[in-house]
């Protein structure tokens, strides 16, 4: 087991910057998820840790040992690939044994190791099969098994569930998480799927354009996004954003635009250096907008009437898209009559966010 420390890592492909000045630490035994849109550099970062790429600048250490120039095999890491990368002409058993054989382990050890791993992953009955005779889920288990038998200090996952269907993905998510709780090994997991990130990670690192935007626990990332990008990236449906300006009135901070006017309750947490800022972006998650009829909070100053545009029925709740003036919103409502054309909504001002109109940074103290 080992902690991973990434210091000032930069990487370019040709003249394109892929990663710029990345600093990140994964604690010993931690499950760290790297998440971001495609092309953000998350896979490159993972490959740098594995040693499949060399950084242009900066250092990576695993378990306190500097890894620059150390070949992948000597880093004691195991990697699970998106398309499993199983050797197609070898049986499941041989696939799992491949790495051990390269390490010149004796046959008895190899057999025992593979058998015990096979039991954990419930793939013992597949040992004699070739990869093409396996389903996607089985292949993924074999790929996991191949990584596990080597007892690596670090597991690296490169979007391992992307090729599976939704149901299987959910199952495997739980399995990998369980595996982590058994093995207690440091795991770094790359995904573009925020659900995987939120459900699996001890901590999440959100990446954009080769930089890390925020590293934190899933709860903190959700409740206190550092900037507009993080706020928009995490959460389904996406957070609503409204442009407007601030006004101080009797010590209260008010948010206004042509169509709306709200009194902000969290003004005490407002970062003082932005006090003179007029234009801001306010963010509010769909679940923080309630139907006035059923809402537990009552706040007449933050109640508005909106025109319903469209309703998405999700079963347990409905996502209602509506308009106030020119601004569009969506809200997650449990009880909603689909035939209503207009609705009275209440915005929970304790849970709003304010962002800088240009760089998107949060205007609240963390």
């Amino acid at each position: 087991m080992a902690a991973i420390q990434i210091r000032d890592i930069s990487k370019k492909f040709g003249s394109t910057d892929i990663l710029t000045q990345i600093n990140l630490t994964a604690e010993d035994g931690e499950f760290l998820v790297l998440v971001g849109a495609s092309g953000c550099g998350k896979s490159t970062l993972l490959r740098l840790i594995a040693g499949l790429e060399t950084p242009d600048e900066g250092t990576i250490s695993i378990g306190g040992l500097e890894m620059t120039g150390v070949p992948p095999a000597k880093r004691n890491v195991a990697m699970v690939f998106q398309n499993y990368a199983l050797y197609p002409h070898l049986s499941v058993f041989e696939n799992m044994a491949f790495g051990l054989r390269q390490q010149k382990k004796d046959e008895a050890f190899i057999t025992e190791k593979i058998n015990s791993t096979g039991e954990i992953l419930q793939i013992s009955h597949l040992f004699t099969r070739k990869p093409k005779e396996l389903s996607g889920g089985q292949r993924q288990r074999v790929a996991l098994g191949r990584a596990m038998v080597r007892d690596p200090k670090v597991f690296l996952f490169d979007e391992p569930l992307s090729n599976l269907d939704a149901k299987l993905r959910q199952e495997m998510r739980i399995e990998i998480k369980k595996l982590h709780s058994i093995l207690k090994t440091t795991m770094i997991y790359v995904t573009h799927d925020q659900t995987e990130a939120m459900t699996m990670g001890d901590r999440i690192a959100i990446m954009r354009n080769g930089e890390i935007e925020q590293v934190d626990t899933p709860e903190k990332i959700y409740s206190s996004p550092k900037n507009k990008f993080v706020a928009s990236f995490i959460g389904m449906p996406q957070m609503n954003f409204i442009e407007g300006f601030l006004q101080k009135d009797d010590g209260n901070l008010e948010f206004k635009n042509e169509d709306l006017q709200f009194t902000l309750n969290r003004s005490s947490a407002y970062k003082s250096q932005f006090e003179n800022l007029e234009k801001v972006v306010m963010g509010i998650r769909p679940e923080d907008i309630h139907d006035n009829l059923f809402a537990q909070i009552k706040d007449t100053s933050n109640t508005v009437t909106a025109k319903v545009e469209m309703v998405e029925n999700m079963g347990s709740h409905k996502i209602v898209h509506f308009k106030i003036g020119a601004s569009g919103f969506s809200a997650e409502l449990r009880n909603f009559n689909e035939h209503d054309e207009k609705i009275e909504l209440i915005f929970d001002m304790n849970r709003t966010h304010l962002f800088h109109p240009e760089h998107g940074g949060s205007l609240y103290e963390a």
Partner: protein
């Protein structure tokens, strides 16, 4: 219904357009083997004719002499072919024996024939078959006037002058100019010397006369020019001799009258007889041949009249004089010879003196057997593997044997009963199958009429190109089809198969073919995969390298093969130059000793064949996911282990079919062997099975034998192909 009508309409238009327009002009095809300069003149005179006769269109097709002969044989036998064929007189004998050209004495009067010199009308077995427009085709000594003031009169002078003109200008031990060059390994170019020593190729009864003192002396003389007097190059074929004379690297050349057009304006040359043999006091006797036109036996009726008129035009004094004016050819028309332009032509006058010493070309089919037997032994003497005495005696023996084989007419033996029984059984089985499945087949036809209509054109093509020839070949292999039974062959049973399997020579060539195939395949695959891996993974400028490495494959095979033949030349070839200059090794006699020639053929074919495997491997490599290598890298596999455990097994599914194809192509690759070894040189020892079949079929007219041999080759390949596929499970996909 509307759909059907549309289809019929489209097919109707298609067929009408296929046949449309051909009725307006009648086309006369001429196949010829004229040299480049002459070809242009022929086109011009044909244009005149077309202008005068607007209803006629003349198509000219050039073919190299051998190709002309074999292609004409096949097509005329199949009832088609060109209306007129132009070539040397020695093809008249075989063509007449096969009955594929018409006797001309039934078409023209003696008055017409009398307008030509005697040599120009070629007779065989009492009929006239060819009208020659050029008399000559004879060898002579051509000398570069800038170097040689007066030509040598006898061989002593020749040797003395040869030594004088053979020079190593820069003193690097390499000869920069030779006194004399010529295509001396070819028997046609040796024949004049045989006459000079008092002998000849055959007697008046068309029997070979090779085991003579004259022949022994002739062999020894040519060898001495090269090895003792060193006035001719070590290895020299026609092209090299030609190039050396043109560039001034040779003072004299022995060449034919056909070469004048090529030298005209490039070398200031003079013409003389080949020097008299000092020992005997006799002039060497070049073969005087005629080139001319014969008429295809399949031309009849009105078309025949048109062809006759064209033949008269092409052999007319006017046309012959135009040829003389343009390319200095020697006319055969008496009227043309009287023309003042001829009388005043210095070159033609000198040439006429050479002709006086010459002997007419024998047109009998036996000549081929004599040439073949002579070539083998003559080259063995030059290669140092036989003494003149042994060679002369063997040449005679082989010539007699080949003439016997060629003229042999097999009659049905006992095995015909086995054959008939086999045929009867086969017929019975087919009949049974038809009876059993006839109903289903008929029903299938009724149900899928449109589908069958669509596949019909393709089926007709496949039938005509593959199925019919294949079964026809099987039939011929059981027949006595040969020179003398060209039009009335009959089934004789398993004779040829027995002959093949009891001939030790067959097994020798089979082993050689095996070595040829597997050595080539090994290097094709090895080099191909190696280069593909290098290009795919590490080398920069991928597209550029890929293109560059495809070039050997993209260049037509015969160009590469002939270029390599040039490169293997002992003295001037780049291969020996590299060996000598950079590797400090002694140069090899690449093309005059059997093992080296075989290796030269293999090297050429390796060069030609690896790009295909490289391209296939490259395609295969690109379909291997990079993650596999990354996974292996993380697993700690070295580059070699990655190659062994990922690249190779993943390549197999694409490489196996390519390998089987490569095996068949290589096994059947006649081009490289034939062109690099110049038809099996030295001494007919560089053969693989297909080149051997080719020789049997087209040199000795033994079609039945050749067909049986080719069926055996087919079976060998079939077995090898099936075995490889079974062994490799190549059809099993990896994913």
């Amino acid at each position: 219904m509307i759909f059907k009508k549309i289809i019929y309409a489209i097919l109707g238009v298609f067929f009408i357009s296929c046949f449309d327009g051909s009725t307006e002009k009648s086309t006369i095809n001429i196949w010829h083997q004229m040299h480049y300069e002459n070809r242009k003149v022929l086109r011009e005179v044909c244009n005149w004719y077309e202008d005068e006769n607007p209803g006629i269109q003349i198509n000219l097709t050039y073919r190299e002499t051998e190709e002309l002969r074999s292609n004409y044989q096949s097509s005329a036998m199949g009832g088609s072919g060109p209306e007129l064929i132009y070539g040397p007189s020695d093809q008249v004998g075989p063509f007449a024996a096969m009955g594929i050209i018409q006797p001309l004495d039934t078409l023209f009067t003696d008055d017409f024939f009398n307008t030509f010199v005697d040599n120009a009308i070629i007779s065989y077995q009492g009929h006239k078959w060819m009208v020659g427009d050029v008399v000559g085709n004879h060898l002579m000594l051509l000398y570069n006037k800038n170097l040689v003031t007066s030509p040598p009169q006898n061989t002593d002078e020749l040797i003395a002058m040869g030594k004088e003109y053979t020079l190593d200008v820069d003193g690097d031990g390499k000869i920069d100019r030779y006194g004399l060059v010529w295509n001396f390994t070819e028997p046609f170019f040796y024949a004049p010397w045989l006459g000079g020593f008092g002998g000849w190729l055959l007697d008046y009864e068309n029997q070979p006369t090779l085991n003579t003192e004259a022949n022994r002396k002739g062999f020894a003389f040519i060898k001495s020019l090269r090895d003792e007097h060193k006035i001719i190059p070590q290895e020299c074929d026609y092209e090299i001799a030609n190039a050396m004379f043109l560039s001034g690297e040779a003072a004299m050349i022995i060449n034919g009258d056909w070469s004048w057009g090529n030298y005209k304006g490039k070398v200031d040359f003079g013409i003389a007889r080949i020097p008299m043999v000092s020992e005997t006091g006799l002039w060497p006797t070049p073969i005087v041949g005629t080139k001319g036109y014969s008429i295809n036996t399949n031309v009849q009726g009105r078309e025949l009249e048109e062809v006759n008129r064209l033949l008269q035009f092409l052999t007319s004094a006017k046309v012959q004089l135009y040829f003389t004016e343009k390319v200095n050819s020697q006319p055969s028309s008496k009227a043309a010879l009287k023309d003042e332009r001829i009388a005043e032509n210095e070159i033609l006058k000198a040439s006429a003196r050479v002709v006086e010493a010459g002997r007419p070309m024998a047109v009998v089919p036996e000549m081929r057997a004599i040439w073949d037997a002579l070539r083998t032994q003559y080259q063995a003497v030059l290669g140092g593997s036989a003494t003149p005495e042994n060679a002369a005696s063997l040449a005679q023996k082989n010539a007699l044997k080949q003439i016997q084989l060629m003229n042999e007419v097999q009659t049905p033996g006992n095995s015909i009963w086995i054959f008939r029984l086999g045929m009867f059984l086969l017929g019975g089985i087919i009949l049974l199958l038809i009876i059993k499945n006839g109903k289903d087949i008929a029903e299938s036809f009724r149900e899928n009429k449109t589908a069958y209509l669509f596949i019909a054109p393709a089926f007709v093509m496949v039938f005509a190109i593959i199925i019919f020839p294949f079964f026809y070949n099987i039939l011929i292999s059981f027949s006595n089809f040969s020179l003398n039974t060209f039009r009335d062959w009959q089934i004789i049973g398993f004779h040829h198969y027995v002959e093949v399997f009891t001939d030790l020579h067959f097994y020798t060539i089979l082993i050689k073919t095996g070595i040829w195939t597997f050595t080539n395949l090994f290097f094709h695959l090895g080099i191909g995969i190696l280069l593909a891996v290098l290009i795919n993974r590490t080398l920069p400028a991928k597209p550029l390298l890929r293109t560059a490495l495809i070039i050997p494959w993209a260049v037509p095979q015969y160009i590469s093969a002939l270029t390599w033949r040039g490169m293997f030349n002992q003295e001037y070839g780049s291969v020996n130059m590299i060996l000598e200059k950079f590797l400090f090794m002694e140069g090899l006699q690449w093309l005059s000793s059997p093992t080296e020639t075989f290796i030269a053929c293999i090297l050429t074919n390796v060069w030609l064949g690896f790009p295909f495997m490289m391209i296939v491997a490259l395609g295969g490599l690109q379909s291997i996911p990079t993650e596999l290598y990354e996974a292996a890298e993380v697993d700690g596999a070295s580059r070699w282990q990655q190659f062994k455990c990922i690249t190779l097994p993943m390549l197999m599914p694409v490489m196996i079919p390519a390998m089987i194809l490569g095996m068949i192509w290589t096994f059947n690759n006649i081009n490289v062997v034939w062109l690099v070894s110049n038809g099996g040189e030295p001494s007919d020892q560089t053969h693989i099975l297909v080149s051997f079949v080719y020789k049997a079929a087209f040199n000795l007219y033994r079609y039945g034998y050749a067909a049986a041999l080719s069926m055996i080759i087919f079976c060998i390949l079939l077995v090898m192909g099936i075995y490889s596929i079974r062994q490799s499970n190549s059809t099993e996909s990896v994913y």
